[in-house]
Symmetry: C2
Subunit: 346 residues, 2 copies
């Protein structure tokens, strides 16, 4: 049972416990020095700061639906490993520089090794999931594996959609395009699956589990929108990534789509000219130029409003569909977590 008083405390406790569990699970000692170095690299991203939001969602929903969060713990840790191998590969694919306040893995060790470290963590994720059989039995363990394969299919498709836009220099995107990409790339693994898994492990019905498709979709996109906003206005120390890095990387965000829908044709052409340049050729004043246009047309504020509206929708739907749910600490913290998603500054 939850003993903590505040969301902050819960997140901190979850982080400590998940980190310790993953640290314990990942291999450490090996007779060959090369392999010991691999193990160090595998621990690099998992040991960096971060919110551990996905495990938190899974554990809270499990408890809110009457389950024992201890039963969900191994799965929650696997969600964190998922996040880590995805980030390592994403950072290479997007040509990113910073992650959680430190150079990206491929910046530290080169692309070849970083790809392999991502693969190593990917394999470890499945290994961790197999452990579920012992505590939860084969049937539930298999159901959880199926959720992970479903989610994996979503996330690679979402990632491919985004990479296609970059590779084809495609800018004529509408909000629906963004929505599709964002749901597949981010919402599934950030919110939909963590909540579904929590409910599933608590023994909830299929109807309850499926309810988290829509709730998780709205919450997940809200999360990403807030991330995009923080990328533009955050502080690097807190946010942990390069500020306006999305402009450097030429990322298609809702902020940008709003800007294209609002600005003049001449401005749009200028923005595309800047965005299309390879990262290394983008000057700081050009990045600022795009950023200033985003402010001028209130595109950042627009994304922030959309983020809030989506989170409110998730909140309302949860309260409406699960009105009968006992008023527990876990339920309360889950609702607080919805607020945190849109209010957070990191």
């Amino acid at each position: 049972m939850l003993k903590v008083d505040s969301l902050d405390e819960f997140l901190k406790e979850t982080k400590d416990k998940i980190d310790a569990y993953i640290f314990d699970f990942l291999p450490q000692a090996h007779e060959r020095v090369e392999v010991r170095r691999l193990y160090e690299m595998m621990g690099d991203y998992p040991m960096r700061s971060g919110k551990r939001l996905r495990p938190a969602l899974c554990l809270l929903i499990c408890e809110a639906f009457g389950g024992n969060p201890e039963d969900a713990f191994n799965t929650a840790a696997a969600l964190e490993l998922l996040q880590n191998w995805l980030l390592i590969h994403d950072d290479i694919e997007d040509g990113s520089d910073l992650r959680r306040g430190q150079p990206c893995l491929h910046q530290k060790y080169g692309i070849p090794m970083a790809i392999n470290v991502g693969d190593a963590l990917h394999c470890k994720m499945w290994e961790l999931l197999h452990r579920n059989a012992e505590r939860l039995g084969y049937e539930l363990a298999f159901q959880i594996l199926s959720e992970f394969t479903r989610l994996s299919n979503q996330v690679v498709e979402g990632q491919h959609i985004e990479l296609s836009w970059v590779s084809n220099n495609r800018w004529n995107l509408n909000e629906e395009d963004y929505w599709t990409m964002c749901v597949q790339k981010t919402a599934w693994y950030t919110c939909i699956t963590p909540c579904r898994l929590g409910a599933m492990i608590a023994g909830a019905t299929k109807e309850v589990v499926d309810e988290f498709l829509e709730i998780g979709m709205n919450l997940g996109v809200a999360f990403q929108l807030q991330d995009d906003v923080l990328n533009l206005i955050g502080e690097v120390g807190q946010y942990g990534k390069e500020i306006a890095g999305d402009i450097s990387e030429g990322k298609r965000t809702l902020v940008l789509i709003h800007l294209f829908n609002s600005c003049t044709k001449a401005e749009a052409l200028r923005v595309i000219e800047i965005m299309d340049k390879p990262r290394a050729n983008k000057r700081a004043d050009e990045i600022q130029e795009v950023s200033r246009l985003m402010e001028k047309y209130k595109s950042i504020a627009y994304a922030q409003e959309r983020s809030k509206a989506l989170a409110r929708k998730a909140y309302a739907r949860f309260n409406q569909e699960f009105a009968e749910l006992p008023d527990t600490r876990a339920r309360d913290l889950f609702l607080q977590l919805i607020h945190f998603v849109i209010e957070r500054e990191y």
Copy 2:
């Protein structure tokens, strides 16, 4: 029951059936054009020519040990998917140009997309393995999953060892270093696990399954040595990779280790000077220079001899340990396959 007469026929039939099964399993249709493109890319490597050696080993051992190869078919296909995602990522990590006679995936679509396509196939491999539960029951399906996690750990470690040597410009390697790397990187997924899985699915005892550790290790290294030899003396049309591509890529092979052990100090320094150059800076005459030294010191013949000796060892051990095994067509084809591993020209 096997109805084919020759190994050639068996390999052809296996290839056709495995390819059709994988083609059927991989997704095809999607409303979004970007996702359809991803599906095409996912089918690229699996549909290229190739030997389907790993599925063949798994199916033959299953039948030789009294199992129904139909029970092993899904797992055999997963071994082929494993090979495909590994190759996509390896080709990026090694900076390769050609694979199975065509440009590598990252040469066709860029590194970001190729990483993601590899991840997509990696996820599909686990998805395929989960299908085993239906036909084989939870317990055996889980045992098979465990074999795959064990194998994955080996393969990423082997890959990391090799990448470390490249990244650290390390050349003072002995045969034992090569052996360790090669067993982990190649033998496990090429021979050890395919054979173990075949036996496991046939219901063999743990003792029998574990016997394939040593047999598979010897056979797997024999396979890789023959591959290294073909890389130097093969014909590109048959072999499917760039001839002497290993020299271009600066790969640490047993051929090279033998050369270092045999040549003069001045020659060794010259070889290192050439091998250490970035691929793009290596001239054709420099590659030939290394290649000629390998011939001068009979390093290629040495690797070929070692390959044959290891295959003979695997052959003898199999016959010795499994002398009681009924004299079936499957057993006979497996023994023929051992010969094929070292005699093949592709």
